[in-house]
Amino acid sequence: MTIETSRPEAPPLIEVRNIGQVFRTTSKGEVTALSDVSLTIGDGEFLSVLGPSGCGKSTLMRIIAGLVRPTSGEVRVRGKKVTGASRDFGIVFQQPALFPWRSVLKNVMLSAEMLGLPKAAAEERARELLGMVGLADAAHLFPYELSGGMQQRASIARALLHDPAILMMDEPFGALDALTRENMGLELLKLWEMSRKTVVFITHSVNEALFLADRVLVMAARPGRVQEILEVKISRPRDLDAMSTTEFGETAQYLRHLLGARTGD
């Protein structure tokens, strides 16, 4: 069995240094969403962020991607401080968040429009990406004609169009049914193996986190903080059978214990 790790010799692509985030609310006063979160993410790594709801994992993702400014600490990508949205990131949200008045193709090409990329090349790439996510024949359709899973595939294609180095995914399969969810996980792995992008994948499913990732970042809530970072030593490429191995089962059990009784996963 080959053991793949996160290539420690490579310089980290993303450095998260002592991130703290405090929200001011009218009802509860100050709420600490994140407290002293530090980690590094390697180039080409698949990192799952696992934690109960309210542990600040979505906030952490938004801070890394430059959508939210942290109260304290900083994020660096290739040594450069993140100060706002950047082309380095493609983001897939919990909901597909497609624009319903645009065709699938036009949705995927949104970033090309916004970033001023040449149109013909962008369309070619959009069609190529739609092929990769299995939507080649759906380019001319509108989101309302697509199932939830197909919509989420389209939003993955949209996130990849401008060829970002890092793909941020915030519980992207959370709204899908269990079967679709497993398939999407498999396809995501294939996509990742082809493109070798760095992926930060947020989830509250132990199995999903474990199945996909090189490393699992386990977060605890109140305040949101890093509880443990676990290396996943399951060989790649992985298929759904990997989930039935004792190694997988033991690791999953360990993770569930870490998360405590609070998660019902």
Partner: protein, 279 residues
Amino acid sequence: MATSAILIDAPERSFRIWFRKHLPEVVGTPLLVIVIIGLWAWVVEAFQIRSIILPSPLGVWNALVQGLTPSNPGNFYPHIVVTLWEILAGFALGAMIGLLLALILSQLPIVERVVKPLVVAFQSMPKIAIAPLFIIWFGFGATSKIALVALVVFFPILVAGLTGFRSVDQERLEVMQSLGSSKWRTFVKLVLPGSLPFLFTGLEISLVHAMTATIVAEFLAGAAGLGVLIVQMGQVLNTAGVFAVMIVLGVIGWALVQILGLIRKRLLFWSIDTRRPNM
């Protein structure tokens, strides 16, 4: 889209399906109209009702034909033009001002909170009551009517705009934000198209208000317009003429609502409200 593809495949069959599905509207409604006209003719005949109280359907038809004959000096056309102009100009003006103010207020949350109660208070006031004042201010001509229509249209559009602009989905906003979009581009590409369902609901409500406001203002004062015509005919007890003008008004109203509905269908094919069957 899907429906048009079916139509191309088997036009005749799909027509028959459509016909069967819409039987009540396609056959039933015209039948009901015929029954009502027949009943009307019978009542006038059976009770010997004088034509200045209720003219016969034929009398109304004759008045309508006369009014629509261009060679007839008393034809309706100049009045139709004036009334249509007042409705459309006022509608466009009110919608533009309402939309613009909604856009400005949506960028200034605190000002919005200061202004909003006032808008809501004004919205529940019957604005047609201001018509005599507008006639004093803007005169007997089209300007006073256009001003009234604009006022009546302005409030529903403002409220629809404010609601629509605020209804933007947070994750879609973040999609735009992650691409470094400016406020203006986010508005043009996301907020405005996303609020169109709200705006069209506002426009549809306003359109009916606009037509009512025009006619009421014309009742009060004016040299031309279908409302003026109704008052003039009423004064000489030309009841059949009044009915004929009402039919013209009905057709104009119906046509305007249909046109707006068609534009809505074109622009909002993606919206759940538009795709609901029988709409």
